[in-house]
């Protein structure tokens, strides 16, 4: 609660600071506020500054703190990266920053809810902020389209979740997850309850952009400004996974006989569709969007195995590594192409000639997404695969492995373009965000050679 309160205040303050028309100041306040939020999340008791009534509906247990800290940690760097975008004269910088911070409030609620109401409020805060953020590049038709598309489809998915909640309430008379987790047999068998679960699962699968509910994500990702896409594929992904795992991995795991098959086929579909469609993409962002769908497939492995602390830590590790990799990719892209939202893969050709450091970081990032050893992605995949093997999901693993090979094919394309082309590219040659690429790249290497340092940290929280 403490951090949520702090962040809400921070958002309000940022709106007022906006009057000063000083982007640098707003951004500094936002970054400092986020760092303070991260500190309070890690080191302070979350029960301070809570509102009566809410303490039973939000619980910052170690599960929530793990995901929340990861969200806040990565958001700090995303804020830095937003610099180039919000300095454009037609972008409302104060509102942008404030809405970004507000969306984090929603994200944190999604990691910590214990009640359907807080789940729903979290989804809505995050969702509505994102509809706005997706459209912030208001002179770009793509951005407008993304915003509208996301609003329509997102609202539809939220509606489905809400409908599911109503059904579950009708079946059980409760909206508290703990109470629903311990139901008697008679209530579980009711078809109202089953339909309710089904709708909630579908809605959440939509939010994590698992196939076949993925159709919104490539278009929305592509149309949104780069920094918003980065935010969606990192922070929103972490928050939605925190939510789906909290619902189905933690609370409702007893009912896995019912939802397990659906998740299983969604996993298969995400792996196959995400990887195959990524093969034919021509722009960097669309490729990353489809790759994000396939990564969702790997992440869903966590729901299919026996839930325990190790699975949760593996999930956080995976999200951390994936987040770092996307962060590197976008900071390098921003250095090279500014805020251009439609960078083609071909535009990367020969980039290593003008920026070796950036190319190196980009290589590590893509190798990590492909899951090649020496980068964190290898262990991230391993930590997902091992429990799956222990649960005997051999067919799923075979699909996972084959799609990894397909994945390697397209993840190597940017690397090939950057290093092995004789062409000379047109780059902006700024290197203001090189430090982010450098830092996140180093983290990827550390996670790839000494994964224990990272996973011990995660286990410690």
């Amino acid at each position: 609660m403490l951090t949520i309160t702090l962040l809400s205040l921070l958002g309000l303050i940022l709106l007022f600071v906006g009057f000063l028309n000083n982007i640098g100041l707003s951004r500094t306040i936002a970054v400092l506020g986020l760092v303070a939020g991260l500190g309070s999340m890690l080191f302070l008791d979350q029960d301070i500054l809570t509102f009566s009534g809410l303490e039973t509906q939000l619980s910052f247990d170690s599960y929530a703190i793990k995901f929340s800290s990861l969200i806040l940690f990565l958001s700090v760097f995303i804020l830095f990266l937003s610099g180039k975008f919000i300095k454009k004269d037609y972008v409302q910088s104060a509102e942008f920053l404030a809405v970004l911070i507000f969306s984090l409030v929603g994200a944190l609620m999604l990691t910590s809810f214990t009640h359907f109401i807080t789940l729903f409020v979290g989804l809505e805060i995050l969702g509505i902020s994102l509809y706005i953020l997706a459209g912030t590049d208001k002179k770009s038709p793509g951005s407008n389209e993304a915003s509208l598309k996301y609003l329509l489809l997102g609202a539809f998915a939220t509606g489905i979740i809400l409908f599911g909640m109503a059904l579950i309430y009708g079946a059980t008379g409760s909206l508290d997850f703990q109470a629903i987790a311990n139901l008697g047999q008679a209530k579980i068998d009711s078809s109202l309850f089953k339909f309710g679960l089904f709708f909630i699962l579908i809605g959440l699968l939509f939010k994590v952009s698992a196939a076949p509910f993925h159709f919104w994500s490539p278009d929305v990702y592509e149309g949104s400004p780069n920094v918003v896409m980065l935010f969606m594929s990192v922070v929103v992904k972490i928050a939605s996974f925190a939510a789906i795992y909290r619902v189905f991995g933690n609370y409702l795991n007893n009912y896995s006989f019912f939802w397990w098959d659906i998740v299983y086929y969604a996993t298969l579909a995400s792996l196959v569709i995400g990887n195959l469609l990524a093969l034919v993409q021509k722009t960097v962002k669309r490729q990353l969007a489809f790759s994000s769908i396939s990564q969702t497939g790997y992440l869903l492995f966590a729901l299919l195995v026996i839930p325990n602390d190790q699975t949760v830590n593996g999930l956080v590790f995976y999200l951390f590594v994936y987040g770092c990799a996307v962060l590197v990719a976008f900071s390098v892209l921003t250095d090279w192409f500014g805020t251009d939202p439609n960078v083609k893969l071909d535009q990367l050709k020969g980039a290593s000639k003008s920026d070796q450091m950036g190319s190196f970081a980009l290589t590590i990032a893509y190798l990590s997404m492909a899951g090649i050893p020496l980068t964190g992605g290898f262990f991230a995949k391993l930590f997902m695969f091992t429990p799956a093997m222990e649960s005997g999901l051999v067919q799923l693993l075979i699909v996972g492995i084959l799609s990894s090979v397909v994945g390697a094919t397209y993840y190597l394309r940017p690397i090939i373009n950057v290093w092995f082309s004789s062409e000379t590219p047109v780059l902006e040659k700024g290197n203001s965000y090189q430090w982010i690429a450098f830092m996140a790249g180093t983290l990827l290497l550390v996670a790839g050679v000494f994964p224990d340092t990272i996973s011990n940290l995660i286990a410690l929280i």
Binding site: Q310, N313, L367, I372, P373, L374, F378, F379, L382, F383, F385, T386, M389, E390, G392, V394, L397, I398, I401, L402, S404, V405, A408, T409, L412, I416, W419, F420, P451, D452, S455, N456, A459
Partner: protein
Amino acid sequence: MNPLYLILTPLAAAILGIGVGKRAFIQQILALLVMLGGLGFLLQVHLHGFENSQISYPWINSFGIYFALSVTKINFWFLALTSLVVFAALFYHLSQEEDKIRTDVIALIYSLQFFLFGVFMAQDLMLFYFFFEASILPIYFISSRYGSPAAERATLKFFLYTLFGSLFMLLGVLFLYSKNGANDFLFSSFGSLGLSGENQGFLFLAFFLAFAIKMPLFPFHSWQVDAYAESPVETTILMSGILLKMGIYGMIAIVLPWFPMGVKEYGHIFIALSAFGVVYGALIAIVQTDIRRVLAYSSLSHVGLIGCGILAYSDIALEGAVLQMFAHGINIAGLFFISEIIAKQTGTRDLDQLGGLTKSSFGVTVLFFLFLLGSIAVPLSNGFPGEFQLLMGLFGYNIYLGIFCGLTVIFSSVYMLRMFQKSMLGKPSESLKFTGLNFTQGIGLGFLASLVLIFGLFPEMISSISDSALQILLRAY
């Protein structure tokens, strides 16, 4: 002797190599020192006993993965060959003019050596897998960056092909882990799991696929020839000389002792296929006109014979396989080295355009012929004892198979001598300029060529160390 010394030397050399930059002479001294250091280390281990040369540190606690390395009697010659082949590749690179020397290539070659040492010494299956897969990266980067335009495609194919194979191995590794009650990946706990025949069959296929692609055995070889022919010669030397030995090592150290029932069930199919590959490779080599392609197909043929020998499960053939893998590594590295010298100076690799080079350089002629003899497996050359034992073992396994594979003796002399004849003998063509070896090339090749003779005369140097361990390995069966 702590194996950390051995495995960390190439890493230190990589850093030093970057620091030294383009000063060829110092780089050469460094390469020589790394090679001699590696061999010296192994000699020390041999003299002071293998039991002192093992370490094990916890690496990833939550999954019970250890950084466990050890020099054993089985990996001993693989480690020695790694030092030698890396030395050959580096010496080729350093024998060029100084402006062609690239520090990133040097650093990548040393890092490859690091990974290879890791693969051969690992005593933890996940560590083995980690190094096994990481070893693709240096090759991929050198080859794509400095190869011909066609090399980019060829190495991408190589990368994806081997990734495909090794991911199936990963599946096998995870399956073994899930069967292992001790929750670790240590080699020592996998030998005695008492797996059912069905499981062993599945595991055999998973591991065999990875190793067979790496070696490559027929019919998994389609990446090989293009990758060998189009890459820069440094990577070709490394790929043919030592990278494929990872596959051989995996077959000997993992597949044979752990999945004997799998080998029994499926082995004969793959023996037949590789035996076909032996003759197939040799026949194609006979009609190739590109020197590199002749050598690439000859390598397919030789390695196929080694694969047959390992799967045949006989003492003699397995000992022969180790002898032959060592000999093949040295010979093929030497041959690719020389072929590139010829190609660079004359500007062509086409056998029809070459000819009469003996007149220009006596040194190249002698060295070329020595490696050639080793490759044909003439008695008193290093290739002979291994090939002889392999064929003897195969005759014991199945007489018709033995006869079929025996054809390779004839064929290999045909394609090798044809290559020699067309490139070195005959009338020198006016347009070809050939000056022979420079000093660095002379040293590097001379050293390798001396090994052809030494190991031809004293093959028991290899057998005395590895045979006892190989027999124990087969007894477990």
